[in-house]
């Protein structure tokens, strides 16, 4: 960790001013990811701008029937928020599938979006990594890559985005509200995170001088037919090998609307319009689910150590869609997979 200045932002405008004026600065919210990275010398901010006390911690109903979630609402509060539990249980479930109670108490909604990959090489400054040090090479391509991407990777980087919450937000078609020196704007969730391409050091389309103020979820919450299933190497407190968020609207056994997002397989929460379209109008049954899974994975390209992920993702998609269709969402507290 390098020595750094610490300052508190008094309001959003102040935060934006401070970050614009200070090239080496970073916001700190819960600090659960940033501080770890600083201790490992991966992040080396010269100034920390503490935004944790800004009044961005409420959940409010929007005129269009959705919810606007402040960027500083703790993950734990969000998961247990009555409106979220009732109307967006997919989001609640995905949050509870992640990290630990202690971490969820500290972690913020905005920070969760910006958490960085868990690729081990990214954390180890003794190894080459294009994401950490552009141009230095990717250790994972020819190294240990069991946990890495099977979709949308590039030759520069094959890392995955580790968030669970974001997989649900992607499925729910959320919007990210941000404010910068040039004013406020809204970024559709699908455009927020980027694929690595040849600029893997840039994770998102958030500008360096912008702050996330809120996440908005539209009215459609899929509270009847949803499930979040996370497959990992132990039953809790591990990042996903593959995770699936499924949300359906079903009438008389026919799927009217479908959302499907995957975690642990790509540099961003993965959605596939074709796979979702293939579900619409189909009977809510295994064959439809399998077809959608095959479509979603048609371009999957495994790494040397993870071709199991393709098959696993296929099976997990089918299982999650089945849980959603049956109205028996995966529990995040029973020590079992349903």
């Amino acid at each position: 960790m390098i020595p750094f200045q610490y300052t508190k932002a008094s309001d959003v405008a102040d935060a934006v001013r401070l970050i614009a004026a200070n090239g080496g600065a970073k916001f700190i919210a819960g600090g659960t990811n940033l501080l770890d990275l600083m201790k490992d010398n991966v992040e080396r901010p010269t100034t920390l701008i503490d935004i944790s006390r800004l009044p961005l911690n409420s959940v409010e109903e929007t005129a269009s029937g959705g919810l606007r979630i402040g960027a500083l609402v703790p993950n734990a509060d969000l998961a247990w928020h009555p409106l979220i539990e009732k109307r967006y249980p997919l989001l609640s479930s995905a949050i509870l599938a992640g990290a630990s109670q202690q971490l969820r108490n500290m972690a913020s909604t905005g920070g969760n979006l910006l958490q960085r990959t868990r690729c081990a090489y990214f954390y180890d400054t003794a190894t080459p990594c294009n994401k950490r040090q552009p141009g230095s090479g990717c250790s994972a391509v020819n190294g240990v890559n069991r946990g890495h991407a099977i979709l949308g990777a590039s030759t520069s980087c094959i890392a995955t985005h580790p968030s669970d919450m974001c997989v649900a937000l992607a499925a729910l078609d959320a919007t990210v509200h941000v404010t910068g020196a040039k004013g406020a704007r809204a970024i559709p969730f699908a455009d927020f995170h980027r694929l690595p391409g040849d600029t893997p050091h840039i994770d998102t389309n958030l500008a360096p001088d912008e702050i996330i103020t809120a996440i908005e979820v539209p009215a459609k919450g899929f509270a009847t037919h949803y499930s979040y299933l996370k497959i990992r190497d132990r039953m809790s407190y591990a990042f996903a090998l593959v995770s699936v968020a499924a949300a359906l609207e079903i009438k008389n056994g026919t799927i009217e609307e479908a959302r499907l997002a995957l975690g642990g397989v790509a540099h961003k929460p993965w959605r596939d319009a074709g796979a979702e379209a293939a579900l619409r109008g189909q009977p809510a049954e295994d064959a439809s689910f399998a077809r959608a899974a095959d479509l979603l994975l048609r371009d999957a390209r495994p790494q040397a150590h993870n071709d199991f992920k393709v098959d696993l993702a296929r099976r997990a998609i089918i299982r999650t869609l089945t849980q959603a269709a049956h109205g028996t969402p995966q529990s995040q507290s029973n020590k079992t997979i349903q």
Binding site: Y123, A126, V144
Partner: protein, 746 residues
């Protein structure tokens, strides 16, 4: 034979809460990194980032310019240290090789090797400055993968004389099973980080608070390395936050902290980071080859067990994985051989049940495969091969109730309802599997000295240099002392883990409980003799014609065994003799009985549920039946075995130190990525202590319990996974990709 008094309530045999429990949960218990001193300086370690080579240039200039930095010690400017291997060899150092010497010269022998120590006024400053030390290396080729050195491995253990001709018997056997098994490198990951606080005092001795399993080992080691007289260094380690073997040998941070204190002439604290803990010793990656030949009736004709373990280039550490196979089961022909591969890694070290946790995993997996080949129940197969004698030495045991372990474990588990075919049992989407394995470990004893100082008001201080590494040594010694001195446990104070106390070897190998308790009884016997001698001198003494064998201490009195109302209170005796305290010291005397084998045994029964489509394995039920002599504290004993079972589940399903062999570097060096089981992975664990009277082993009939609980667990899980799925995974950990049959070699 002296036995604890039988009049008052006996603490021994009764579930007793930890005497140090309150101090631990309230934070009053101080660990090595918690001690403070005026003018304390803080250390931070710089580690090598290559696996092998030499340091061409090391530049601390920038680091030294950081305000608050006191010094940067490297091989170029370190204080003088001894230069013979002998001086660096601690009690547990392998006989062969040259122990690692931190900051000794420019050689880099493994990744994460310490190459500089930064000392500063504050820890944050030290850590920042450590990141500014610039190092240029001359790199050399390296190997960290045991499979690449399998053929060059060196034989370290094989029997003195061969038992029959295993190869020939195997070739001729009616039923054969032969396979390779693999256990990856594992790290201990104790909760407490390795830490040392070295207290410097002008003209006085150096007092070293260290996280260790053996204070006297560290003290002698430091005296050797820094060429000090015994009274110049004192080592203390009152509490240890887990070690599992990692603290058996002095770790490099104790050398560096002392080096820093001597150089600065100031007190120094050095706490390793979690990541740096992966630069220490580990359970060696081991390839195990088993070949079993049997008759159709399930009796064994041939056992061959060959293993290749891992060590550094400079020390030959190994524990015998293979001897267990030849020991445990009756077979006229047996051959074992343990080899070790030298890799560019630190020296491996003991980790809970070293050799057995790994070797018996392979043996018991192979036995399960043999049972399948024979179409025989796995318990039945083990009964057919049951041996009443140590098969290697052909000796009877002091006690062996393994048969009862099978019987009681199977009954508690409901084993008789098992359907033998794989994939025959289901629970919804899950395939259900039941597996079992045997466990075996040694019942070792070591000489331990104990001092008891008893005061006239009926309080006793019991002192010994032994450590309590979290296993409950404080508690069990207090129980035995209370019973043998006839005092309430509240009146007993235990002092442990100070190198100036009566001598004890390192705490490990499950030998401490039996040895230290035995020593407490022996020393209490001396106290009692002294009291009797004094009591006889009292006028009109009711014990005037009593002899040793007649009296016991009970309820604060020395009384006649036959007539407990005939006696004198301790305080009266001591007042009469004008004594304020009685102080005695004695070492346990145990017969070096060469005519018997001494072992503990277990039978582990496991239920797994495996999601058929997703390959996710859950261990839903474990019954561990243990035969380990007399159990003195059923409460702490049960905790020991439960913890060990959890460790075994981790070994089976989760634990793996992952190397990038191209970089020669561990990549999952933190406990977010190095997986151990979490609460959600653990379901029912039932511990059964099989009654195992043992009149031969020691006066208490007691064996150790620290390690037997982990042995066999990984095999039982693997066997259950096979029974559930029909998939035999022979390399640990059993991750879902392997269960799905989709694992590529890393």
């Amino acid at each position: 034979m002296s036995t604890p008094n039988n009049t008052a309530k006996a603490y021994t045999g009764t579930p007793t809460s930890r005497v140090d429990g309150r101090a631990k949960v309230t934070g009053a218990a101080k660990y090595a990194g918690d001690f403070n001193a005026g003018g304390l300086a803080y250390g931070a370690v710089v580690e090598a980032t290559i696996a092998r080579g030499r340091i061409a240039r090391i530049d601390a200039g920038e680091a030294l310019r950081v305000p608050g930095v006191l010094d940067v010690i490297t091989h170029e400017n370190r204080p003088r240290v001894a230069d013979s291997d002998e001086a660096w060899r601690d009690d547990l150092a392998p006989e062969d090789g040259s122990p690692f010497r931190p900051l000794y010269d420019d050689a880099v022998k493994f990744n994460q090797q310490p190459i500089a120590l930064v000392l500063a006024e504050e820890w944050e400053i030290a850590r920042y400055a450590a990141s500014l030390v610039r190092v240029d290396y001359e790199k050399q080729p390296f190997v960290t993968d045991v499979y690449r050195r399998r053929d060059d491995a060196i034989v370290v253990e094989k029997p003195d004389k061969l038992r029959g001709d295993a190869a020939k018997a195997f070739a001729a056997a009616e039923v054969r099973h032969e396979a390779d098994y693999f256990i990856p490198t594992e790290h201990h990951n104790p909760m407490e980080l390795f830490a040392t606080t070295a207290m410097w005092e002008a003209g006085g001795p150096l007092t070293v608070y260290d996280k260790t399993q053996g204070v006297q080992n560290v003290q002698q080691f430091l005296c050797g390395v820094f060429e000090k007289k015994p009274n110049e260094i004192r080592v203390i380690s009152p509490y240890v936050g887990g070690a599992f073997g990692a603290g058996l040998r002095p770790q490099y941070q104790v050398v560096l902290a002392v080096m820093g204190a001597l150089k600065l002439q100031r007190s120094v604290r050095l706490v390793l980071t979690r990541q740096q803990m992966y630069g220490l010793g580990y359970r060696p990656a081991t390839i195990e080859r088993l070949a079993l030949g049997a008759r159709r009736d399930g009796t064994l004709d041939a056992i061959t067990h060959e293993a290749v373990g891992t060590t550094s280039q400079f020390e030959e550490f190994s524990r015998n994985d293979t001897g267990w196979s030849a020991l445990l089961y009756a077979s006229p022909n047996a051959r074992y051989e343990h080899r070790v591969a030298h890799l560019d890694v630190p020296t491996s070290c003991d980790m809970r049940a070293p050799g057995a946790a790994t070797g018996v995993y392979a043996l018991e997996s192979a036995m399960d495969e043999l049972a399948v080949a024979l179409k025989m129940d796995p318990v039945e197969l083990r009964l057919r091969c049951y041996s009443e004698r140590d098969q290697n030495e052909d000796l009877p045991y002091t006690s062996k109730r393994l048969r009862e372990c099978y019987r009681e474990g199977a009954a508690a588990f409901g084993w008789d309802r098992r359907k033998p075919e794989p994939r025959a049992m289901r629970d919804g989407k899950a395939l259900v599997g039941w597996g079992m394995a045997s466990g075996v470990w040694e019942a070792l004893q070591v000489p331990v000295a104990v001092r008891i100082a008893m005061t006239a008001n009926g309080h006793a201080e019991v002192s010994c240099a032994a450590s309590d590494i979290g296993t409950g040594t404080y508690t069990i010694m207090a129980q035995v002392a209370a019973d043998s001195l006839g005092l309430p446990i509240e009146n007993i104070t235990i002092h442990l883990a100070d190198s100036t106390l009566p001598s004890a070897p390192v705490e490990g190998g499950s030998w401490m409980a039996a040895s230290a308790c035995h020593a407490v009884i022996a020393t209490a016997g001396e106290v009692r003799s002294e009291l009797l001698r004094r009591a006889k001198l009292m006028k009109g003494s009711p014990l005037a014609d009593a002899v040793e064998e007649d009296v016991t201490l009970s309820d604060g009195k020395l009384v006649s065994r036959r007539q407990t109302d005939r006696g004198v209170s301790i305080s009266d005796i001591m007042r009469h003799a004008a004594m304020e305290r009685i102080e005695k010291e004695k070492t346990n005397e145990f017969a070096q009985d060469k005519a018997h084998a001494r072992n503990t045994h277990s039978a582990v029964f496991v239920e797994v549920k495996v999601d058929e489509e997703l390959g996710v394995v859950r261990v839903t039920r474990v019954v561990s039946a243990v035969a380990a002599g007399r159990v003195l504290n059923p409460k702490t004993a049960r905790s020991q075995v439960m913890g060990a079972v959890v460790g075994g589940i981790g070994m089976a399903l989760h634990e793996e130190t992952i190397y990038d062999h191209g970089l020669g570097r561990i990549i999952n060096h933190d406990i977010a990525e190095y997986h151990v089981p979490v609460n959600a992975d653990i379901h029912d664990i039932e511990v059964i202590f099989v009654d195992e009277p043992d009149a031969l082993i020691n006066p208490l009939g007691m064996k150790g319990l620290g390690e037997i609980g982990i042995v066999g667990v990984a095999a039982a899980v693997a066997n259950a996974v096979y029974h559930a799925t029909g998939v035999r995974v022979r390399d640990l950990p059993i991750t879902l990709d392997k269960v799905l049959g989709r694992r590529q070699a890393a």
